[in-house]
Every structure is written in C-alpha cells, then in structure tokens.
C-alpha cells in the first residue's frame, strides 16, 4: 500500500517536471519539418477555398482588437473576407519584441506571421533560423504574389538569400533605397538664418559654421545644432564622406573592401564635429540626452538646427506654435541641403528601403503559407496604402483636382473608424512611398498639411538635385561567419568620445579602430574580400 502511494507520488512529480521541461524545450516537430520549396504549387485553389486562422504578432496589435468599435472596422473585415481568413492577434510590445520572439522560436511557439528586425541587423540569427528550419522559405515562383515578387527583385534585397532562398519579405518603407532623401534631414530656422544674412543653403562647412555663429550672436543662449538622437551625429559625414552617413556601409579603398568606419576619410567629419563641439555650436548635452530631447529644444525655439526630427504630426506643430507665438511654421522652418562634398556633389542618406522584415513560421502548412503570402502581398500594395492612409473612396475621401480630400467630419478620424487597421497597417509595409508621392489625403490640421506640402516638395527637389550616397548593398548585406559576428557595438560611443575628447582626433580614432581588431575586424575583412573576389565585385 505504502509502495503504491510512493509510486503515485513519483508519477505525479515526474508529470509536473515533464510538463515544465516540455514547456521550456523546443518542439521537435519543428526540426523535422523541412522547408517547403513550392508553397504556391499546393495552394492552387482560390483564397476563399477554405477558411483559415492565422496568428499574427505585432507590437500593440491587441490594442487595435480591443479598441471600441473594433468589430465594425470595415477595412479589416473586408480584408479578412477577401482572403477567407481570421487573423488572431498575438500581442508584443516595444520592449519585449525581440526576446519574446526568440523565446517563441526556442519553444516552437512562433506565430504564423511576425515582423521583426533580423535580416539586416542580426545576420547570424537570420542565417541560423533559416538553416535550422525555424522560418519558412519563400517559394521559388513568386508570380502569384506580384508585389512581393517586385520587392524580392530589388538590388537591396537580393543579397539576403540564404542557400539561394529568401526566408523573409522586407517591410518596405519606400520603393527604392534612394528615397531616404530626408531621413537625415537638417531642419533649421530659416527665419533666423535670414535675419543673420543667410538666405541660401551653405556651400561649405566653413560657411555652415559662420552661419551658426552669426545666428547665435543674434540669439544668444540658443544651441547651434541639436540632435534628434545620438545616431544622427553621422549626418555630418554627408558633406565629407557620404558613405559614413550610414555606418554599416563598406567602401573599396586601395582595391580592398573595408568597413567605412575604418577608412581614413572618417577623420575629416569627426574633426568637423570636434570643431562644432569645442566652439559651442554643437549641443554640449548631446552625449547625455535621451532620444527626442534635442528635437524638443528645436521645437521650443532653443536650437537653431536639428539633425533629424519630423514636423508631420499635430503634437509637434502645436508644440512649435506654443513655444513660438506668432511665428508661421513653414515661413520659419526649412530643410537645409547639405553642402557639397569634395567631388562637388551634394549627397543624401541611403539605406536599404526596408529596415525590418516579415517572417513566417516554418510549421505552417503550405495552404496557410499561401494564404499568408496573399495577405502580405495585398498589405504591401499601394491599394492597401490608399485604404489605410485615405480610407474608402467616396466614403472617407474623394479625389479633387488630383488630390485626395477628406470627407470625414471634424469629430471623425480614420483611426477611430478603423481601429484594427490602425494598428495592423504596418504589418507588411510603412506607406512611405505613398506619402512622399503626395497621394495621402490632405491633412485636416492646416499646419500639418502645410508642412507635409513642404516636406513632399523638398523630397522631389533633393531627389532631383542631390546624389544618393554610393553604397554597395552586395557588400553591406553580405553574410560571412566573421562579418556576422562583427558587432562593433561601441562604434557610436567611440565617435562620441572622439568628439568630446581632448586628444588629437586622428590618433583617438586610430586607437578605437585598433581595438576592433580583437572583435574580429581583420577576419571579417578577409572573408568579405575573398567572397567579393569570387562574386567579381
């Protein structure tokens, strides 16, 4: 009797422990499920052939589904009907999106569709997940998904193939890498510059310095240059070494590919920043400030220039108006065109036209995968951008003289009318191209509308006048073991320390680069050059 009790107890304990271990370990089915090579083949039926449920995880997705009136979101409901699917939200938040996804991947619980920032930022993880069968490869034939097919053929996407297959769909911000024209915008008080006698963009760094000094004389106590966040410090390189404005870039020097930050050309930009800092023209607090603090100074009329920041929101235009009473925003603020680099060209910032990607759980059936791809294809299209940005034609907006004009009343908004769409709209893209092309509905807030007009006009002007920084995506996105591990997390810190330091700029930077050698810099350069030679780059 006692023995049987002991046995029962033992079984109970084993059951508890087994349950716990099972919960913590990965699902073995996952490893055995081999990536499908031809999802489209098996999903030959129409999207409406069988109703399917798909789990979708996104930051804040649950908030949309919980919002009042969510069940009446016509745009979302129509989309579910169109693809005969029910989307089940899986909540993620800004501060746990990465580690939660990793834990899901480790325990075989990944949602069917999930966006994340991996392929560019963490090539080692992307490559591991692809080869370990965690994420699903796209079918070879993408003709059934025309928008996805167009995206996957972009030169900035092709280097992301692993074993000749794609394992993600980039979430496009723009249509092309050269469209980041204003992402490193230099906002400035053109009214202050004009007061000081500067009515056109500076033609050199020296002229730029003289302009700030002249303005500071008229507005004592103001900051010369404030930063939206620390990474915007690299804007400075657009005028000297444009490739370094994106510090993940590689350049070919003396017949060899090297990371831009190891080039001697970095020193000129750093020296400019040191000059600006020492002369009190660059915000003395830039190294200790939190994100957005510098731009707030600009909005509050405490800074002449802001590297980065956007005025496309009512909150920001209102802050500006309150802090600068009687000042008209578009009369006062301009977007400065950077001075020409040594070759006489003015350059603009360049990065891949996407910065995050959308992934699919490898445990999905081919039928589910086909439906998910159809959905993503639709959500990445301009048709969907129009629905999210403007609403339903002739219900929420109308076209007047080629412009989309809102039909909503003052107390209506698209966000309230379509709350799920309002949170899920960025699942497959960021609608930047639609906005920059001036296709979005004219904003109901006149200040924002006026600024958006300036923004869109400047975008066109800079696209026509400037050159995109010459970046090579084949090298930048190349995946080699040592390059994948080469995470110079101290790069920005070293830049800051050099700018605020006392020693000679050149020797400080040489010392910093030397320290990267222990992190695998040399191995990465060797591997990249070997591969580049094989590829004929």
């Amino acid at each position: 009797m006692k023995k049987s009790k002991q046995a029962k107890m033992l079984v109970a304990v084993m059951l508890v422990l087994t349950t716990v271990f099972a919960g913590c370990s990965s699902n073995d089915n996952n490893s055995s499920s081999s990536p499908s090579n031809d999802a489209s083949g098996s999903a030959s039926g129409e999207s409406g052939s069988k109703h399917l449920e798909l789990d979708v995880s996104m930051m804040g997705i649950q908030d949309g589904f919980d919002a009042p009136g969510a069940e009446n979101d016509v745009i979302f409901n129509d989309m579910e009907k169109k693809f005969n699917v029910t989307l089940k939200p899986v909540q993620l938040t800004w501060n746990d999106y990465m580690e939660k996804t990793k834990v899901w991947a480790a325990s075989g619980q990944l949602p069917d569709i999930f966006p994340n920032v991996i392929a560019v930022d963490n090539k080692a993880l992307y490559s591991s997940w692809a080869t370990q069968g965690i994420i699903k490869p796209l079918p070879d034939d993408l003709s059934k998904y025309p928008t996805i097919e167009r995206i996957m053929n972009l030169p900035s996407v092709t280097p992301l193939k692993v074993n000749d297959k794609y394992y993600m769909v980039p979430r496009m911000t723009y249509d092309d890498a050269s469209d980041w024209v204003l992402d490193r915008s230099i906002l400035y008080r053109k009214d202050w510059a004009s007061e000081a006698g500067y009515t056109s963009d500076p033609n050199s760094f020296e002229e730029f310095v003289a302009m700030i000094k002249a303005v500071q004389k008229l507005h004592p106590g103001t900051v010369g240059i404030a930063l939206q966040n620390k990474s915007y410090i690299d804007t400075q390189f657009l005028g000297s070494f444009p490739e370094m404005s994106n510090n993940q870039s590689w350049v070919k020097e003396d017949g060899k590919w090297i990371p831009s930050y190891t080039s001697k050309r970095v020193v000129e930009g750093l020296q400019q920043l040191r000059t600006l800092y020492n002369d009190g023209l660059l915000d003395k607090d830039f190294a200790i400030q939190k994100e957005g603090d510098g731009f707030t100074k600009f909005l509050n009329g405490q800074a002449f220039i802001s590297y980065g920041g956007a005025l496309n929101s009512a909150a920001n235009t209102d802050t500006f108006k309150k802090a600068n009473p009687g000042v008209n925003l578009t009369d006062a603020v301009g977007i400065m065109n950077i001075w020409p680099a040594a070759d006489g060209n003015r350059y603009t910032y360049v990065v891949t036209p996407y910065w995050s990607e959308i992934y699919f759980n490898n445990m999905m059936s081919d039928e589910e995968f086909d439906r998910a791809l159809q959905l993503v294809d639709f959500m990445a299209s301009e048709e969907y951008s129009a629905l999210y940005k403007n609403g339903i034609l002739d219900v929420d907006y109308k076209i007047e003289n080629g412009k989309a004009v809102s039909l909503l009343t003052a107390d209506e908004s698209l966000a309230q009318k379509y709350p799920i769409t309002n949170t899920i709209n960025t699942l497959a893209q960021w609608h930047g191209a639609f906005y920059k092309a001036g296709k979005t509905v004219v904003n109901a807030n006149p200040d924002v509308a006026a600024w958006e007009a300036v923004d869109q006009a400047t975008f066109k002007k800079f696209k026509a006048e400037d050159k995109p920084a010459p970046l090579n995506f084949d090298i930048m996105l190349m995946s080699t073991p040592a390059k994948n591990k080469l995470a110079i997390t101290t790069l920005q810190d070293d830049e800051i320390n050099t700018i605020i330091g006392k020693e000679d700029v050149s020797s400080m930077w040489t010392k910093a680069v030397k320290s990267y050698e222990s992190k695998g810099l040399k191995e990465a350069i060797d591997e990249v050059n070997k591969r580049a030679e094989e590829m004929g780059l």
């Binding site: 913590c24 990465m98 990793k102 325990s107 993880l125």
Partner: protein
C-alpha cells in the same frame, strides 16, 4: 563504546531509520507541510527547474533542437567572453563600483542611525527619518532625469559654477565625475531606507542600560561605543554579508538609467553589459548566459568568503 556500536550499524539500516524518522515527522505535522507545499513547488518549478538553462553556456544553441538537444561547443562561449575586452572592462567596473559601495556607501546608514539615535526623541527624529527615507520611493527612471537636468549644460550645477566665475563642466560625460555622482546619488536615495534596520536594532536596547551608564559617568560617545555599537554590530555583520552577496550586481537600475556612452569605460557593469550584448547581439543566448554564470560563480565565492571571515572574526555572527 557507544560510538563503536554506532559504527557497526550497516549504512542501509541508518538510512532507513533516518527516512522513517522523516516520514514520521511529516505525518505528524502533515498540515504544516501541506501549507508549505505550494511554496516548495513554486521554487522547484520556477527557480530550480529553469536552472537547466545554464547549459546554454556550454552549448551552441540550435533553435530547432532546444537547450538539451543543442550540441556542446567545447567552451566556445567562454573563449568568446574571455576574449572580449568589454567583458573585462565591465568586470573591472563591477568590482570597483561594488567595492566603492561597500567602503563608501555601506557605513553611511550605520552612521546615520547612530546620529538619529543621538538627537532628542520626538517629532524632530521623525521628520529627519521621513526626509531621509523619502528618496527611496522615487524610481531611478525619474531620478536620472532630474540628475541629468541638474548636470546639463544649462543646468543648476553649471549655473552655480558660472555664478562663481568658474568654467562649465560636463560632469556626466567625465568618468571620475560620473562615478562620484553615482555614489552620492545612491547614498542620498538609499541611506535613509537602509538605516531603518539599524534603528530597529537600536530600538530594542533597554533604556535602563543607558541610564545605568549615565549614572556611572559615561558620556554620549562612550554610551554609543559600549552599548549601541555592540548591539548594531551583529546586524551590520549580517547586512555586510548580504551586501557582499550583491557585489557583482553593482546597481543595474541606477547605472542603466544614468550612464551614457561617454562613460561606458568607467560605468559599464556586467549587468548592463549583458543587457546590451543580449539586445544588440550577434552573440546569441550562449554569450549572455556565460557572462551571467561567471558572475554568479564569483558572487557565490565572495558571499561564502565574506560569511567565513565574519564568522571567524565575530564568532557568533554570520549566516
């Protein structure tokens, strides 16, 4: 003779007897053990079972195979950690900052408790206690904003410097300056709260002892030295051991909220290093787990070392 008899008892029999005794004990107090059961299960499930995750430090993690199924990697994670100069910088900073906390910050609450005990009882003591305790309830997130504001270019500190004709100084981007702010702000925030335990110990002292000492002609300092301190000593010893146990923690909340890239060389501790390497990683789970494991091993050795020293020096004290 008795010990000789005991030696002759077969080992199995002793074990059976002990087991029987334990069973009897459990049966006798079954309801108390039943009350304890949820807590024990909680710790097993949430604190001990997940410990198998430590294996990650010795494995090349494969997401499809899980922790147990992933292949061993011949200490590659340890090699990567030891070859990373940032790890050594973080270790050095952790030890130095923590030692600073032990030497500079640890005695302050004791001194504060002794001083509070010396001022006349009543409203004033309570006011002081409240004033000193209050900062504990402000989070580091809020406090860091205030501190950064004070030391910014246009902040109070620089305004005062300018007022006295001195040059402005960027304290928070200057390593030694940052370290001083680190200690002072933590003392300001936590000393009042930490001294509560000492005040509680002091409250337990029989007032008649002070009266007797006064009759014998002992002054306030002598009373403090001969009556108050011996009582406080054992509390301080226990708290010291606990503080040593925290040596490798170094205060993540405070440093994470307050530091900036210009002072990583001085302020990046193991916890902030693990956090940053885990989030910006090309390093993976194994790297962070290895750093965490190394930290725990060093902490374990320090804790037991401190306990050993305290028990040797102060006989009845220690844990």
């Amino acid at each position: 003779m008795a010990s000789h008899t005991q030696l002759e008892i077969p080992e199995k029999l002793t074990a059976r007897r002990t087991g029987g005794k334990l069973r009897k004990e459990i049966v006798k107090h079954k309801y108390l053990y039943l009350l304890l059961a949820p807590l024990v299960i909680y710790y097993i499930v949430f604190s001990y079972v997940p410990m198998y995750g430590i294996l990650l430090a010795f494995k090349e993690f494969d997401y499809s195979k899980g922790i147990l199924g992933s292949p061993w990697n011949d200490f590659a994670n340890f090699t990567a950690v030891f070859n990373n100069p940032d790890f050594w910088t973080a270790t050095r900073n952790t030890v130095l900052i923590s030692l600073g906390r032990l030497i500079i910050e640890f005695p302050i609450p004791i001194v504060l408790a002794l001083l509070l005990n010396e001022i006349s009882k009543g409203k004033l003591t309570r006011i002081f206690q409240t004033v000193f305790t209050f900062p504990h309830f402000i989070s580091w997130v809020v406090l860091s904003g205030i501190i950064i504001g004070i030391f910014s270019d246009q902040g109070l500190y620089n305004q005062i410097l300018v007022l006295f004709g001195a040059d402005k100084s960027s304290v928070l981007t200057n390593g030694p300056g940052f370290t001083i702010v680190l200690f002072i702000s933590n003392i300001w925030k936590e000393a009042g709260w930490s001294c509560i335990l000492y005040l509680a110990a002091i409250a337990g002292i029989n007032p008649e002892m002070y009266e007797a000492a006064a009759v014998d002609g002992a002054n306030r300092f002598q009373q403090m030295r001969k009556i108050t301190w011996p009582v406080l000593k054992s509390t301080a010893a226990v708290l010291f051991i606990l503080a040593v146990g925290n040596v490798m923690n170094g205060g993540f909340d405070q440093i994470f909220n307050l530091y900036n890239s210009a002072v990583y060389q001085y302020a990046d501790i193991l916890d902030t290093f693990v956090y940053r390497s885990a989030f910006t990683d090309a390093t993976g789970f194994g790297f962070s787990t290895t750093v965490g494991l190394l930290k725990s091993i060093i902490n374990f050795a320090l804790l037991f070392g401190a306990n050993y020293i305290v028990t040797k020096v102060g006989k009845e004290e220690g844990l």
